[in-house]
């Protein structure tokens, strides 16, 4: 199953949607992520799997720039994560497995805030309403997210991404806290995004999701990525 359609070091081209080169992370003497190089194309879903504590979140955090890698570079559509950070931020979005939110802003206001920051205010009210209704959060739109369940937080995290434009989507265990109906919805959403040309890298233990969505697979164990 793994290594299907894998792209090696020589396979990286400048036009690739996401290019990761020699990326590694060490905490003192502990190597959390061994150097890894890979590239992902547009309209492609890559699934990263591996046991708990294998380094999936570390890899996604390093790619998204939430954690500074010890070595290596990340580029999105040819823009370097640290040199052209604003350009990369316009194109790439990461949804953590347990999103955290501002205490003082309601779910609706979080969406508004992200849309304003990304200059994506065109038809905001209609788009936001459509998203809230689709993901069954409409009734909870004026609630403060710290009252949300984990599944609702995950959905709100996804909504914060969907309200703005992006080309690369990183998701950390996106279905871990979702009910069956929401998993279906998530699968459909990811398929639709792929059709629209989005590059998706997600980590998951969900075998159904892995089989239904994966175009490429990467396996990580002890910080070493296989199939890259």
């Amino acid at each position: 199953m793994f290594l299907r359609n894998s792209v090696g070091i020589k396979g990286i081209t400048l036009t690739q949607a996401l290019a990761v080169n020699d990326l590694s992370k060490a905490y003192d003497s502990f190597q959390a992520l061994a150097p890894v190089t890979f590239g992902l194309n547009s309209s492609e879903i890559t699934i990263l799997s591996g046991p708990n504590g294998s380094g999936k979140t570390t890899l996604l955090s390093c790619i998204s720039g939430l954690i500074r890698p010890t070595t290596g570079t990340v580029s999105v559509a040819g823009f370097d994560l640290y040199r052209d950070e604003v350009e990369v931020r316009r194109r790439m979005v990461f949804i953590p497995d347990v999103p955290r939110f501002y205490l003082e802003l309601t779910a609706w206001e979080h969406l508004r805030f992200v849309a304003m920051a990304n200059n994506a205010m065109e038809n905001f009210d209609q788009r936001a309403e459509k998203l809230f209704r689709k993901w069954s959060l409409w009734e909870a739109r004026n609630l403060f997210p710290h009252h949300f369940s984990r599944g609702m937080r995950l959905k709100l995290g996804l909504l914060l991404a969907l309200i703005r434009p992006f080309e690369v989507l990183l998701l950390d265990e996106p279905t871990s806290a979702l009910d069956t109906e929401s998993v279906e919805l998530m699968t459909e959403e990811l398929r639709a995004l792929r059709r629209n040309g989005t590059t998706i890298l997600l980590s998951s233990h969900d075998t159904n999701l892995i089989e239904q969505l994966g175009d490429r697979y990467m396996f990580i164990h002890g910080g070493i990525v296989e199939g890259a």
Partner: protein, 534 residues
């Protein structure tokens, strides 16, 4: 060992370790040197506590002589009685709205959801809170006893007469010990009774509180000689109830009153054990786990967590969408800040800004350099800490903050600018107020304020960002301004104010303004570069 005992003794050991760690004592270290250190600590603190108690007692003696030159012991009894009364009423009020037995989240899982004997749990949980509540009363009793000794013992107090002095402190302590124990056990009995069999008897407060208030107020009124003469029989009752305290302070039959107090204490404790049989531990845990978490957070200095809990309580569950007009790009951060500021405006924040205002008034009023330096130093600390509140908040939500398509400079500017504007306005208002009150206007100082405030905000932001670690930010942990940040702030303020004050006239003014703006620009650049490298 029974599981309940094991868990509780571990908690008590941890509590003990916490207090011992303050005096750098390692309980695990069994070496001779460490034991000698413990002996040294014991002797040192025994002497220190005695000296402190006598110090407060000499002040207390002065007040007692002023309050009642002929019957100081009556005043002492009234004071102790009033304190016990107010504390008991408050304790009963608390017990009627929240369980007196406090459980943590871990206790809830390990104890409250298991079929352990409820009596064992409450009796085992009783000791530590009782000791904590008793210490204050013991200290006050001993101080008041020593105060009476200062008044009563004639002549110069020497080391040979120290036992006489000590007896004056020991007697009230012995008298109050079982009395306060009984009152505390009674508060617990009421609280436990309220949560018996899982039914919350909220109505209990409406009976217990008025009764307790009536009881203590009557007791206090009747203990006053002038009023009690017309209620001779009631006075006897009042005397009986306050007799342990009177015996402790005025020299009645101490042994019999201690025995009577001990009987009262045992009855209260027995009542508590009796009511504990069907005490709902789960309900108690529901009511108290947040209190326990808050107390632990406060004890270990995790103020941000305590702040978060307060904010959550204050915000409630839902809110209608804000009507603030949209601001695009980095303006969205200002939009969010305005919303946050409006929803979290609390008295302590207003007081912080007020203190900054009064410090600014002081800076323009203080004539001597020493006090001026002190006022500027406090201004720097306060301004630095207030400047980075929003930045720290944004950093604590690292995945949201990091993913904004905004350059580091704009991000930092948007986070610091609103607070900087308020900082400048309040400081200038303070200084102008100072000049209206007494001193002539100081345009040289007014002109350096914007640059100075920007420099302090910049260096504080740099300090916070430089000490931030991405793996900690991901779990919401943001550092505060460190001692290094404060020291750098002092240095910057010193250089700018020195240039403004020492070099007179237009050149000094020009140099200090230029210097302040230059430093502000430099530290802002440093902070922005550090932000990239988190």
């Amino acid at each position: 060992m029974h599981a309940v005992n094991l868990i509780r003794s571990r908690q008590e050991e941890r509590e003990l370790d916490y207090w011992l760690s303050i005096v750098a004592f390692e309980r695990q270290d069994r070496s001779l040197l460490n034991r000698l250190y413990l002996l040294y600590l014991f002797i040192f603190f025994a002497i220190w506590v005695f000296v402190m108690l006598t110090f407060f007692a000499s002040g207390g003696a002065l007040i007692l002589q002023l309050a009642s030159p002929f019957h100081p012991s009556l005043v002492v009894v009234s004071v102790e009685l009033s304190l016990l009364g107010v504390w008991s009423i408050y304790g009963l009020w608390q017990a009627c709205r929240r369980s007196p037995v406090v459980f943590s989240e871990a206790d809830e899982v390990l104890i409250c959801h298991t079929p352990v004997d409820r009596r064992l749990v409450t009796s085992r949980w009783f000791i530590m809170p009782w000791l904590k509540s008793a210490v204050a009363f013991w200290v006050i009793a001993v101080i008041l006893g020593f105060s009476l000794a200062e008044i009563s013992i004639p002549g110069v107090m020497g080391i040979d007469r120290i036992h006489e002095y000590a007896v004056y402190g020991l007697k009230p302590w012995l008298a109050i010990l079982p009395y306060q124990f009984g009152l505390f056990a009674f508060q617990w009995a009421v609280g436990i009774f309220r949560l018996q069999k899982g039914r919350d008897k909220r109505w209990l407060g409406w009976i217990v509180i008025p009764l307790a208030t009536f009881f203590f107020v009557s007791l206090f009124v009747l203990s006053l000689p002038a009023l009690s003469e017309s209620f001779i029989r009631l006075r006897d009752v009042a005397d009986l109830i306050s007799s342990p305290l009177q015996a402790g302070f005025t020299g009645g039959n101490l042994v019999s009153t201690i025995v009577a107090s001990a009987v009262f204490g045992l009855i209260s404790f027995g009542l508590m054990i009796l009511t504990s049989g069907s005490f709902s531990l789960s309900r108690a845990a529901q009511e108290t786990r947040e209190v326990e978490a808050l107390a632990t957070a406060a004890k270990y200095g995790i103020t941000s967590y305590a702040e978060e809990i307060h904010t959550r309580r204050r915000l409630g569950v839902t809110r209608a969408p804000s009507r603030l007009p949209a601001l695009l790009g980095s303006g969205s951060l200002i939009w969010k800040d305005l919303l946050q500021a409006r929803r979290t405006l609390r008295l302590n924040l207003i007081l912080n800004w007020f203190s900054l205002f009064f410090l600014s008034v002081g800076i323009s009023l203080l004539p001597d350099t020493g006090n001026l330096i002190l006022a500027v130093a406090f201004w720097v600390i306060q301004a630095g800490s207030l400047s980075v509140v929003r930045l720290r908040n944004d950093l604590s939500l690292w995945p949201l903050a990091r993913q904004m398509p905004i350059s580091h400079e704009r991000f930092l500017m948007a986070d610091l600018l609103p607070t900087f504007a308020i900082l400048v306005l309040i400081s200038l208002a303070g200084m102008l107020t100072g000049s209206i009150i007494a001193t002539p206007p100081r345009p040289d100082l007014y002109l350096v304020i914007p640059g100075l405030a920007a420099s302090i905000a910049g260096i504080s932001a740099y300090d916070v960002i430089q000490r931030s670690r991405s793996n900690l930010l991901l779990v919401g942990s943001t550092p505060n301004v460190s001692a290094r940040g404060i020291l750098l702030g002092f240095l910057i303020a010193f250089v700018i104010v020195f240039a403004a004050v020492v070099i007179q006239g237009v050149p000094g003014l020009f140099l200090s303004v230029l210097l302040s703006l230059g430093i502000a620009w430099f530290v802002f650049g440093l902070a922005a570069r550090s932000l990239i490298n988190i």
